[in-house]
């Protein structure tokens, strides 16, 4: 029982970060119908930006955090401007291959510039685990979970309250109607990618803080895909729930069955969801017309 609770708690905390990364995928998909396979590499680059500002340039942590968010947003903008904007109207395979090619390009650049060895980010929070009645919460995990949830809340607030957020939601609903209401759809796409770049950077820094920076960080981005599929691609709430569920199931499978099962649990979830419930928990059912 104790062990089960422990796994549940760990899974929830890990899932929080998956949810945040999944959110970055969902906002792009909602606005432009493109599934961003490069999210892992964007995360990794965000974390490397942060590392460069802190360790190489010796800037204070808070300032470097801010700068790396700006750099992450710029990266998102660049990707949108130079690759995906030209693909509007092309078949879906082109968009998929484009984000995959971008992820390769970024991965290669990261390997060239930063090498393949592990670099730690400086510690900010104390490393002592927190004990809650028998369940031990690793403080790194707890902090990254709290940060992820705060960012998630801020983003939800942005989408609910701000003018730009409303414009983004309108664009997600229908490009033509949004245009008719005077929304510049193209700049909404750019801003969505910038926002996704920021979210990915935060996710990357959180993961990098816990696991250390290396190009393996990018492969954790893959774990966000099951979260997106489970929650439904169009749903922000779905990303949150999907991320948490994937985190919990993964940790439970790893702890109770076998450690290697943990690695493939998210993908088994993808297969099951796609065969039995393709639209996910909160996604839209698609009706096709000829």
């Amino acid at each position: 029982m104790e062990a089960l609770l422990q796994y549940l708690a760990n899974g929830l905390l890990v899932g929080g970060v998956y949810a945040l990364i999944a959110m970055g995928i969902v906002i792009i998909y909602k606005a432009s119908g493109i599934f961003n396979f490069a999210v892992g590499q964007m995360m990794m680059f965000g974390a490397f930006f942060c590392w460069t500002f802190i360790e190489q340039l010796g800037l204070p942590p808070l300032l470097s955090l801010l700068l790396s968010l700006i750099a992450g947003a710029a990266l998102g903008l660049l990707i949108e401007r130079f690759t995906l904007r030209k693909l509007i109207g092309q078949p879906v395979l082109s968009a998929i291959m484009m984000t995959l090619a971008v992820s390769y390009f970024l991965g290669g650049q990261a390997l060239g510039f930063f090498g393949s060895y592990l670099r730690p980010l400086p510690r900010i929070f104390s490393a002592d685990p927190i004990n809650l009645g028998g369940v031990v919460l690793a403080s790194d995990l707890l902090w990254s979970f709290i940060t992820a949830m705060v960012v998630f809340g801020l983003l939800a607030l942005f989408y609910q309250r701000s003018r730009m957020g409303l414009a983004m939601r309108a664009t997600a609903e229908s490009h033509q109607i949004a245009q008719a209401r005077g929304i510049n759809v193209r700049s909404v796409f750019s801003l969505t990618w910038a926002l996704a770049g920021i979210v990915a950077t935060i996710g990357g820094i959180l993961l990098g803080y816990r696991l250390g920076l290396s190009n393996l960080l990018a492969s954790i981005g893959l774990k966000a895909f099951p979260a997106v599929i489970l929650g439904g691609v169009e749903s922000i709430a779905g990303a949150l729930i999907g991320g948490l569920v994937v985190g919990v199931l993964e940790t439970l499978a790893g702890g109770l069955i076998n450690p290697w099962i943990m690695e493939i649990t998210p993908y088994i979830i993808i297969l099951l969801v796609l065969v039995f419930m393709p639209e996910g928990l909160f996604g839209l059912k698609r009706i096709e017309r000829i």
Binding site: F35, L93, L100, G107, S116, Y267
Partner: protein, 353 residues
């Protein structure tokens, strides 16, 4: 491609109209080319032969992918995983059970085909990037299963060492000798790939690609043809995997990663989807580019020794990503399209059209 037919060549029968090779010169070129190809091991070094062997094996895998992605319009991010199934089936049958390569090859193809069928099941309900994710799941699950389920059979984290195949009692353990196994099989598979798309099955595939609902209304069994396309695709992967296993003679799940799957898709993009010629163009182009970046990376590393270790991988991955991006932006129909334009303009010279 009627436009590229030389002047004065007329069809007098349906068989002539459907023939791929039409004129005497084309026959002479084909046979001459084949003779040259088969003489190659006599004067090329092992290093170049190994590049050619790798190109041929990749061509087989990408032909399968072309039938699924280019003709049927389904997306597959797991071709390398299906190749791994073929490689390990073939490897286990020959190394552990002592069977001949010629029995292991069809078994490997069938095993990969079956696995492809299982992971093709989601294609009945989803398409687009959903399907991409389903096949991505295949790509992540298969190597983990190979590593962990029965490491005593598959070798687990250790490489599985495979005996060389033999033909007419000769052991093929060098680049020169295995060339004579790989190249004929590649030619055969290319022949099948080219022709399968010219049959009723191929036309059904194209109908499913263009609009699967419309295809269904026209009486095409979409369920059957999507699964058939997945089966053929992974069958090709199985053959390629089996050849790879016997060529490399040591296999490990790390030889069949997501990176390889994406690489195959990239070759399809560069060559041009839905064209058997395009497959060959794409594979040769990207494989050659890879060899060039390897050489370039080594020479950069000798000039800047501090970069050694990373520069090669970084260069090859970035160049690959950049090439795909550029092709998607500026030549989305691939080299095959460019080749058709070239052929047409050559025939019409000096007139523009």
């Amino acid at each position: 491609m009627a436009i590229t037919r030389p002047a004065g060549t007329f069809d007098k029968s349906y068989a002539q109209d459907m023939a791929i090779i039409r004129t005497r010169w084309q026959w002479i070129m084909l046979i001459g080319g084949l003779v040259l190809l088969f003489c190659l091991p006599a004067f090329a070094s092992s290093r170049y032969l190994n590049v050619i062997n790798a190109i041929c094996i990749t061509i087989i895998a990408v032909h399968g992918l072309n039938i699924l992605v280019g003709y049927t319009g389904q997306i597959n991010l797991g071709q390398a995983a299906f190749m791994a199934v073929g490689a390990y089936t073939s490897g286990i049958l020959t190394a552990r059970l002592g069977l001949s390569f010629w029995i292991a090859l069809p078994c490997a193809a069938l095993a990969a085909g079956m696995v492809g069928l299982i992971f093709g099941l989601p294609s009945l309900r989803v398409k687009g990037f959903y399907l991409a994710l389903a096949t991505l799941a295949a790509q992540m699950i298969m190597p983990a299963l190979i590593l962990n389920v029965r490491p005593d059979i598959t070798g687990g984290v250790h490489t599985l060492v495979i005996p060389p195949p033999s033909i007419f009692g000769i052991k093929c353990n060098s680049a020169q000798s295995i060339f004579y196994i790989i190249v004929p099989i590649t030619l055969l598979m290319t022949f099948f790939a080219k022709n399968i798309t010219r049959t009723g099955i191929g036309r059904a595939f194209v109908a499913v690609r263009d609009n699967d609902l419309a295809a269904q209304l026209m009486g095409i069994n979409v369920f059957k043809y999507k699964l058939l396309a997945f089966f053929i695709c992974s069958l090709y992967a199985g053959v390629a995997g089996s050849l790879w296993a016997h060529w490399a003679r040591a296999i490990h799940p790390d030889h069949f990663t997501l990176m390889h799957s994406i690489w195959f898709l990239g070759m399809l993009i560069v060559g041009g989807m839905g064209s058997a010629t395009g497959v060959i163009f794409g594979v040769v182009f990207l494989r050659t580019l890879d060899e060039i970046t390897k050489v370039l990376g080594t020479s950069i590393a000798t000039v800047f020794p501090a970069l050694i270790g990373n520069i090669q991988g970084a260069l090859s991955v970035s160049v690959y990503g950049l090439v795909i991006i550029l092709f998607l932006l500026f030549e989305p129909r691939g080299l095959a399209h460019r080749w058709e334009i070239f052929k047409a303009s050559y025939r019409l010279r000096p007139f523009p059209y």
